[in-house]
């Protein structure tokens, strides 16, 4: 079912149509990414971004979305793969159709794409681990709240965090469970840990909602002061991690780059047949109580909704 | 009511029917199956949103568009098919839709129970109002329906074949109730296919045919032949033709000895104790008894409907030991049963006549692992024609047929399996005179071809006329076995209520057991 190759002539008169397939709109991090991308794409007058397609966490859906865009002969395609392997074939189809593809955040198992932009989940986990080591100079017990166990980011962040905390042998990860990236599951599970009488000095959650969920559970047990919470994602929304760091609920979080700005630039470059880097890895910015306010201002896009 | 008409998709059930019912009279409705009696009554009870014609109640015209409304107007109805909620208690069912309430709006459980109890007493049932209906026998359920109909303050009571599931004793009870009602000035519309009943209870009779009005007679003046002529539209031969009596030395086709079945309070299953019956080839044996005597259970046990475990005893087919494993097994060995409750036990109501008729006999139409549609269709058409089923076609949905015609479809289903032993449980329930005659004729034809027939009926005349032998049951025990020469209504009834013999029997049974124990 390969699409017939086409010269990206979808957009008439030097006007370009760009499509973006998002793996799951309803994740705060990705919702933020969408907003930012729309904002940055507006800067390019000769480019229109189609309404963002949401795969709703289903690789199958995303594959057919990509295929649909190939059918529509869009001029460029941005994809945030839900899972690496499943999207590979679809991306190949796109590239066979001579449509430039920009991959965001999660890689695919083929080189047949124009550019990859993403943060490094391993680094995100590693930095979180380093912060943990800093927060627990003379060791302690740590609980880890994991995303859906089979998700690649979960696997990488977990690996990074564990590697980092090895630095201090007195730090022990005494409990870890799958909270499926969800806040209420995190609350429930942390509640169970505390009920078990687990002594936890620190909770590392692989995203901010889970960290805040843990914080809720702890505060209900009156332990929020004696524990520290580390999140990841660092979204500049009222409900997000940065604000939580500002309010002292989280000891710190890490802005996992949305890549929106770079994606917009890259796509525009590609459309005008300019050269772009095949692989761009953005670094992870730590949010601490000191820089939180600043970070929030820098990353707040709510005004552009 | 005047010029009542009603049509269903593809069927015109009623056209220009008129009916005048006077307070305090019992007005009988007569007609073949599918004549439109039930439909007419359903219109009266507000079961249909729309109909043609006009209804007047005590002079002023009324529009009957919901059962609740009709009920408030004092029109009660007992439907042909049971309309009870199996999982709810007897009391809840009787007062459903008219529950008494306390000032706080709560349902007044005690008053409900008392009210239900008195109503049950009125219809002569001794039941715990709190018992779920599921546990009641069909006959009991029929009487519960009556009690339910009585619950409101009645002006008109419509009874659609109330006696089809009742045996003689309960019928008496029912008539007593009807008489008290008419004495109170209630008008009763009474549908039945049992003419002798009508002669006893009805004052006037209106006859329908093909959904049209034929005529009204005073019951006193009318004679049977005339009525039958009116409803069938053709002269009808002898209703109970003389059977060819079988030779006493004909081989025994089916024999059940010491048939014993464990009772079951949940499904209201009567226990059987050491029942002995045998049927010779070409013989028609009747099972008589009061409700819950265990007649149905005898058939069901032989047929394997209760599974192999619940049943003990020795059954032989043509002298060969036979274990009633399952209906499937039974059918494979040439047994077939017309079950008692056609709606619950016999028909896939949502499916077509053809589907239902051929269901049990599909093995016959096997070709290369497929069902040979043509052969199936031919066989079904023949059978349907032979039984004169009134249906728009074999692709019609069975649920839309009239009660009696549904019963015929059940019969067709059994006959298509070409049984050598036929078990009939109330085979003529809700079937009109003409069709009855046909069914009797069929029974005889089968018997002459050597089929052994064991039939349950609550209509004694039918049994007397039809059977070569009559076995009488009481509380799951055989209390008498009469061949047609000695059988009379009186002897059967006495045997059916012979609790004395039952007790001695049990005593005997006990001593036997003790003997065994030694």
């Amino acid at each position: 079912s390969t699409a017939s190759p086409t010269t990206g002539g979808g957009g008439s008169g030097g006007h370009f149509v760009v499509a973006y397939s998002q793996s799951n709109n309803a994740e705060p991090y990705r919702a933020q990414l969408n907003i930012q991308l729309q904002y940055f794409m507006k800067k390019y007058k000769d480019v229109t971004l189609l309404p963002i397609a949401d795969a709703k966490q289903s690789s199958a859906t995303q594959v057919s979305q990509v295929q649909q865009f190939v059918q529509r002969k869009v001029n460029a395609l941005i994809v945030s793969p839900n899972e690496p392997a499943p999207l590979t074939a679809a991306v190949k189809q796109a590239c066979q159709a001579k449509i430039p593809v920009v991959i965001l955040d999660r890689s695919v198992n083929t080189d047949c794409y124009s550019a990859f932009i993403g943060g490094d989940n391993y680094v995100a986990g590693k930095k979180a681990g380093e912060l943990a080591v800093k927060l627990l100079p003379n060791g302690g017990t740590v609980g880890e709240l994991q995303g859906i166990l089979s998700d690649q980011p979960q696997i990488d962040r977990d690996r990074g965090f564990r590697d980092a905390v090895k630095a201090n042998p007195k730090i022990r990860i005494s409990v870890h469970r799958e909270a499926k990236w969800l806040k209420d599951d995190a609350t429930r599970i942390t509640g169970q840990w505390l009920a078990q009488g687990q002594h936890l000095d620190l909770v590392y959650a692989q995203n901010d909602p889970m960290a805040l969920g843990a914080y809720l559970a702890a505060s209900s047990a009156g332990k929020e002061k004696s524990m520290k919470f580390i999140g990841t994602d660092g979204l500049a929304i009222p409900d997000g991690g940065i604000r939580a760091v500002q309010q002292g609920q989280l000891a710190g979080t890490f802005i996992y780059p949305t890549c929106a700005k770079q994606a917009a630039e890259t796509v525009n470059a590609l459309l005008h047949h300019r050269k772009v880097a095949k692989k761009t890895t953005l670094d992870i910015v730590a949010v601490t109580p000191d820089n939180a306010a600043q970070m929030y201002r820098d990353n707040d896009f709510s005004k552009f909704r | 009511m005047r010029g009542i008409g009603k049509s269903f998709p593809g069927v015109r059930a009623l056209a220009g029917v008129r009916l005048d019912v006077h307070a305090g009279e019992v007005h009988a409705l007569l007609g073949e199956n599918g004549a439109g009696k039930s439909t007419l009554c359903n219109v009266l009870s507000g079961a249909f949103g729309s109909y043609e014609g006009s209804v007047e109640l005590a002079g002023e015209p009324v529009a009957l568009h919901s059962p609740g409304h009709a009920r408030r107007l004092g029109i009660g109805m007992i439907h042909q098919e049971l309309t009870l909620v199996p999982d709810m208690s007897v009391a809840d069912n009787i007062l459903l839709g008219a529950e008494p309430r306390t000032r706080l709006g709560r349902v007044d459980a005690r008053r409900m129970r008392d009210r239900a109890a008195t109503l049950l007493a009125d219809v002569g049932l001794r039941l715990d109002p709190r018992q779920p209906v599921r546990q009641c026998r069909i006959a009991e359920q029929q009487l519960i329906e009556l009690a339910k109909a009585l619950s409101g303050d009645l002006r008109v009571l419509i009874m659609d074949e109330p006696t089809s599931a009742l045996a003689d004793a309960e019928v008496r009870r029912l008539f007593a109730v009807i008489r008290t009602l008419t004495a109170r000035g209630v008008a009763v519309v009474y549908i039945s296919h049992r003419l002798e009943e009508l002669e006893e209870i009805a004052d006037t009779v209106t006859v329908l045919r093909d959904g049209g009005y034929v005529g009204t007679r005073a019951m006193a003046g009318a004679d049977r032949a005339e009525l039958i002529g009116m409803m069938v539209g053709r002269p009808l031969g002898e209703l109970y033709p003389r059977p060819a009596s079988v030779a006493a030395d004909a081989p025994v086709r089916l024999r059940a000895e010491r048939l014993t079945l464990t009772g079951d309070t949940r499904t209201g299953r009567t226990a059987l104790h050491d029942v002995d019956v045998h049927v010779r080839a070409g013989e028609i044996v009747g099972l008589a008894g009061l409700m819950g005597a265990g007649r149905t259970e005898v058939l069901e046990s032989v047929y394997g409907a209760h599974g192999p475990r619940a049943v003990t005893g020795r059954v032989t087919l043509d002298g060969v030991p036979y274990r009633p494993r399952s209906p499937r097994w039974a059918i494979r060995h040439g047994l077939a049963m017309v079950a008692e409750d056609r709606k619950a036990q016999s028909l896939v109501l949502g499916n077509t006549v053809r589907f239902n008729a051929s269901l049990a006999a599909l093995a016959r139409f096997r070709r290369y692992g497929r069902v040979d549609r043509r052969a199936e269709g031919r066989a079904v058409d023949e059978q349907v024609a032979a039984l004169r089923v009134r249906t728009p076609g074999t692709q019609a949905v069975v649920g839309t047929l009239s009660g009696g015609n549904q019963q015929k479809v059940v019969l067709a289903k059994c006959l298509l399996t070409r049984p050598s032993v036929l078990l009939l449980d109330e085979p003529t329930r809700g079937v009109d005179v003409g069709a009855k005659a046909e069914i009797y004729a069929i029974c005889h034809r089968l018997a002459e071809q050597g089929t052994a027939i064991l039939m349950v009926s609550s209509e004694l005349p039918e049994l007397l006329a039809l059977c070569d032998r009559i076995v009488v049951l009481c509380e799951g025990r055989v209390t008498a076995e009469l061949d047609r020469a000695e059988a009379t209504q009186e002897r059967i009834l006495t045997a059916a209520m012979a609790r004395g013999t039952v007790l001695t029997r049990t005593a005997a049974g006990r001593t036997e057991e003790e003997v065994h124990d030694r």
Binding site: L182, Q192, A195, R243 | V107, A271, V315
Partner: protein
């Protein structure tokens, strides 16, 4: 009954009577065996921890919103219907509550009725679709599941809305603070008055169950619900307005979903656009494990309550015992099966029958057993 009695006398009364006693005795308890087992398991493995008030509160509190959905679901199921949209309705309601708090800064006692109203409207839509349009409940609510979720996400623009709104002074606004009482962990009602206070979600869940049970068992409406589920034709011919009953249960189901919305929002201190996803399965599971029959006419709120407890406590026990997430899935499934089997009303009677049969088979009376 009589028939049965005679059987009894026919073969050793003593044994049987004994049996019937045992049966009836156990029978009373038996509906709860599943729950009993889970509790026993919990107590044996983690006695004190498990029984501690805080743990039980957490366990029940975490399930409360789904439990409330389950009550509404039970009503629908009793009429032989099913409502798959409860999760979405809850999600939308929780989003509405959060938005009313954050954008309008309304007090909780205004938000709650508002949410219930909006839930009721959604439920009404389901009811009308299933009755007037005569669409199968499954299809209708599957469709609205998607519609309501879409509205929810459109409203929120896919961004979760936090309910802990800080005022200018950086402290929570009054309304946000009192909103927490809807169930933000650690915020109880009547603290001081009653010991550690009462956790609203638990209270709400229990109250809803009690009211629901009373409504079903005590009122005319309740009877009609059972009647419609047990035999719709019969109910109609008995003068029950079946359509009205159905619309009513769907509306109530929506109303309860609306009621549960704020609880869900408060519990995670934010309304997630995906909140409530797949809650319908939990709700239905609770009802069905509690003995409700999807064919309608059979079931009770008490049963549903027990079913809900089984689900959440099972989860809690396994969690406390730090069972791996994968094993948890397997164990949960198996235990549900076991619980349902053990809880079947006719189980014991069946056993009794079996024993009786074996006994008889032993007895010589049946030497002539066929073939």
């Amino acid at each position: 009954m009589t028939g049965d009695a005679t059987t009894a006398t026919a073969e050793g009364p003593t044994r049987l009577v004994g049996w019937r006693r045992a049966v009836s005795l156990l029978g009373s308890l038996q509906g709860y065996i599943g729950l009993v087992l889970v509790l026993a398991f919990g107590i044996v493995t983690r006695g004190g921890t498990f029984l501690s008030q805080s743990n039980l509160t957490n366990a029940v509190g975490a399930f409360a919103s789904r439990g409330i959905l389950a009550v509404g679901e039970t009503l629908v199921i009793l009429t032989a219907g099913i409502d798959l949209s409860v999760g979405s309705m809850l999600g939308l309601a929780s989003m509405v509550s959060a938005m009313l708090l954050v954008n309008q800064n309304l007090p909780p006692w205004v938000i709650l009725p508002a949410c219930m109203l909006c839930g009721a409207v959604m439920g009404l839509a389901n009811g009308i679709g299933t009755t007037w349009l005569r669409i199968q409940p499954f299809v209708m609510t599957l469709a609205t599941l998607s519609v309501f979720r879409g509205i929810d996400r459109q409203l929120s623009d896919n961004v979760s809305v936090g309910t802990q709104v800080a005022g200018a002074d950086g402290k929570l606004t009054g309304n946000a603070d009192s909103f927490q009482l809807f169930g933000t962990p650690g915020h109880n009602l009547f603290t001081g008055v009653v010991g550690a206070g009462v956790y609203y979600p638990v209270l709400a869940f229990v109250v809803v169950c009690v009211v629901g049970q009373l409504a079903l068992s005590q009122t005319r409406f309740g009877r009609h619900v059972y009647a419609v589920g047990g035999n719709e034709a019969a109910a109609r011919l008995s003068g029950v307005n079946t359509d009205r009953v159905k619309i009513a249960v769907f509306t109530l189901c929506g109303l309860l979903a609306g009621f549960a919305g704020p609880i869900d929002a408060a519990y995670s201190a934010s309304a997630d656009p995906l909140a409530g996803t797949s809650y319908e399965l939990d709700a239905i599971a609770a009802a069905v494990i509690g003995g409700a029959s999807l064919a309608g006419g059979r079931g009770s709120i008490v049963g549903t309550f027990v079913g809900a407890l089984i689900l959440t406590l099972l989860d809690n026990v396994l969690g406390l015992n730090a069972v791996s997430d994968n094993l948890q899935l397997i164990i949960k499934g198996c235990i549900v099966v076991v619980a349902v089997v053990l809880q079947r009303p006719d189980l014991l009677r069946g056993a009794a029958d079996f024993v009786r049969r074996v006994a008889r088979r032993g007895a010589p009376a049946s030497t002539g057993r066929s073939s």
